[in-house]
């Protein structure tokens, strides 16, 4: 049977549009890209808005005709925001504080996760369930008593009040971190550890010399997440450590800080949205840089939690 030219052409078109099984055709690809781009735009809209607004002058802010492209780039906004947020000093301050907390959280959750994964002991199941349950417990429930504990220990308004719970595996989202290490250490064959034990290594040595070097990818993931989460945490940090320790907390107090630096009435220095947005951009900039470099570890972190089976 001979297929006519016309129907051959029609078949080709159909193949091009719908593919072999619909999902690999042009049409479905087109729909997928359109959807992804529009959702991506929705997702990034606040970010774009932030960056664009931060570069606008006062006239641009008021002008309804200007939405995305400022008439002139205003670097002054950033200079003011830098001054108010006390960057670069405060970036160093925030980083050193967050590093302390997140490193202690990482190390302690590695130790605890190893304990849960490698050993059997009475009440282990109960403890594990309780450990996971701490994830859904709001810190507001425990903060009253914790505040009193820190007050009695004279740790209030010091960074110890965040570091101490982190060391003892009760820090921010510690349950997730312990779970990540638990899942990872379960995958290491016990034969490896047993052979080291036969050679006379103590459990601490096995942990230090075998488990930790193998767990470096998990350590990186946990460290990155705890860094980001502690950086962004403002409620408990503001309560326990102090009002202006981290950059986001400084951003929270941006208005009053601005008014002490540039008292209201100073000509040409009124606080406007553009300066606020510049402050926002500067606050998230360190995290964006971190995300840019460690993007792969962040995105592949989910596989390491092992919740997907």
């Amino acid at each position: 049977m001979k297929i006519s030219r016309k129907s051959q052409f029609r078949l080709k078109i159909r193949h091009f549009l719908f593919g072999m099984s619909f999902t690999d055709g042009f049409l479905s690809k087109f729909i997928i890209y359109v959807l992804l781009i529009s959702f991506g735009y929705i997702y990034l809209y606040p970010m774009l808005f932030m960056v664009v607004t931060s570069l606008m002058s006062v006239d641009d802010l008021i002008d309804p005709g200007i939405r995305w492209i400022p008439s002139a780039l205003q670097g002054v906004n950033y200079l003011r925001a830098l001054e108010v947020l006390q960057i670069p000093g405060s970036i160093w301050e925030t980083t050193s504080y967050v590093l302390k907390v997140s490193l202690s959280a990482t190390v302690s959750s590695a130790i605890i996760g190893y304990g849960f994964a490698r050993f059997d002991f009475p009440l282990k199941k109960l403890m594990f369930v309780l450990m996971l349950a701490t994830f859904i417990l709001p810190s507001q429930v425990t903060m009253v008593a914790n505040m009193l504990i820190y007050k009695n220990l004279n740790l209030m308004s010091t960074q110890w009040s965040m570091v101490l719970p982190a060391i003892f595996g009760q820090g921010l989202n510690a349950a997730i971190f312990i779970l990540i290490f638990y899942q990872f250490f379960r995958t290491i064959p016990t034969v490896l550890m047993e052979s080291a034990e036969v050679d006379g290594a103590t459990h601490l040595q096995i942990f230090r010399k075998i488990a930790i070097p193998l767990a470096i990818p998990s350590l990186v993931v946990v460290f990155l997440f705890s860094f980001v989460w502690y950086w962004n945490e403002t409620f408990i940090t503001g309560l326990f450590v102090g009002g202006t320790v981290t950059l986001p907390l400084k951003l929270q107090a941006f208005r009053s800080a601005y008014e002490t630096l540039f008292p209201p009435g100073t000509p040409g220095a009124e606080l406007n949205e553009a300066i606020m947005m510049a402050g926002n951009v500067l606050t998230i900039l360190p995290l964006l840089v971190l995300y840019f470099f460690a993007q792969r570890s962040f995105v592949e972190s989910i596989d390491r939690t092992g919740i997907t089976g």
Binding site: I32, Y43, G115, M131, T142, A145, F168, T283
Partner: protein, 350 residues
């Protein structure tokens, strides 16, 4: 005289023997005991796989027991922390929630028992009760929204498309940058609602035509649509990881048997990522609930705690703060329970 000396001597000798016998029978054993403790390791003794504690608790050191001891040592960090920083504070705040408690610099916490008064005050409060209602409504509407949205995005990314890594990066970005103050500033600038939604008449239509119980949460969701969608960052990745684990040959077999993409989605894709839905629901409920909005319940808890003083007519101090926190926690658990319960009911039907 001689007799007297003899008497004294006798007494002296008697005393000497008394002291000697006291020493011998009372003091010496103590020294001996201490010596034994020091030399024989009284407190803890290990000989030939036999562990002796205080010389009367005898344990056989098996491999299992040693392992569990080391395991406990590793987890001890967590156990101590849990007892001190979580369990004790939980009980303490539960106790405080039945008290009228204020903090004073001189005396620490002063508290008097008032029964369920704090809880009654919550239900009488004109500011808190609507907030709790809005919270529940917001959860019940936005959680399914987030889950559906993240499944959709995950399926889109899972298709054979270009720049997969780029799209994953884009949709994960909010997790990295979303902190309270930043979101608050964005909200203040109306940057968290969909721009077209803001201009449409939908918002005013909703607030005019629906009851407050439904209109309030709906309005809250619509005006912070983007912020809510931002919560999908981690669920998208979880679903994506789940989708990548699904065996490709199942799809092939199904399409050979004539299943359409629609059928394949409902019969293969969805059942295989169903277990992840409950994980994501728990994660999203918790992260959404723990986000501190200005003027929200969590913010009010803090003000009650910090501003509260015995003479304050508005702020009821530590006890009231603890009571609100507990009610909020219970609501969270109930919301999680509802969602997970609904999911498991559907599972039984099948």
């Amino acid at each position: 005289m001689k007799k007297f000396f003899a008497n004294v001597g006798h007494c002296f000798r008697k005393l000497k023997t008394a002291i000697a016998s006291f020493w011998l029978y009372r003091i010496d054993p103590i020294f001996g005991w201490i010596g034994k403790v020091l030399t024989h390791n009284f407190i803890l003794r290990i000989e030939n796989a036999r562990l002796t504690l205080f010389s009367f608790i005898r344990l056989k050191v098996t491999r299992k027991r040693r392992e569990s001891f080391y395991g406990l040592m590793f987890v001890m960090l967590w156990i101590l922390g849990y007892l001190v920083f979580t369990l004790y504070p939980m009980f303490y705040s539960l106790y405080l929630s039945f008290q009228e408690a204020y903090y004073s610099l001189q005396e620490g916490v002063k508290s008097t028992y008032i029964g369920f008064q704090n809880y009654l005050n919550i239900f009488r409060s004109e500011t808190l009760l609507p907030l709790f209602g809005t919270y529940l409504g917001k959860m019940l509407i936005s959680i399914p929204l987030i889950i559906v949205f993240s499944i959709l995005i995950a399926i889109l990314i899972n298709n054979p498309i270009k720049m997969k890594g780029f799209w994953r990066t884009v949709f994960f970005l909010p997790v990295v940058i979303a902190s309270g103050p930043v979101i608050r500033e964005l909200q203040a600038q109306d940057a968290t609602s969909l721009p077209s939604l803001q201009d449409s008449a939908l918002l005013s239509y909703i607030s005019e035509n629906l009851g407050a119980w439904l209109a309030n949460p709906l309005e809250a969701i619509l005006t912070s649509m983007l912020q809510i969608l931002w919560y999908a960052g981690i669920p998208i990745l979880v679903f994506l990881a789940g989708l990548q684990k699904v065996d490709k040959s199942i799809y092939e077999a199904a399409s050979i048997d004539g299943a359409s993409p629609w059928d394949r989605f409902w019969k293969i894709t969805l059942p295989s990522i169903m277990p992840l839905v409950s994980v994501n629901i728990i994660y999203t409920v918790v992260t959404m609930s723990l986000f501190v909005e200005p003027g929200g319940i969590l913010d009010i808890i803090r003000t009650h705690m910090l501003v509260g003083a015995p003479d304050s007519a508005f702020w009821f101090g530590y006890g009231y703060a603890a009571a609100i926190a507990w009610v909020y926690f219970l609501l969270m658990v109930i919301v999680i329970g509802i969602f997970v319960g609904v999911l498991s009911i559907r599972k039984k039907d099948r």
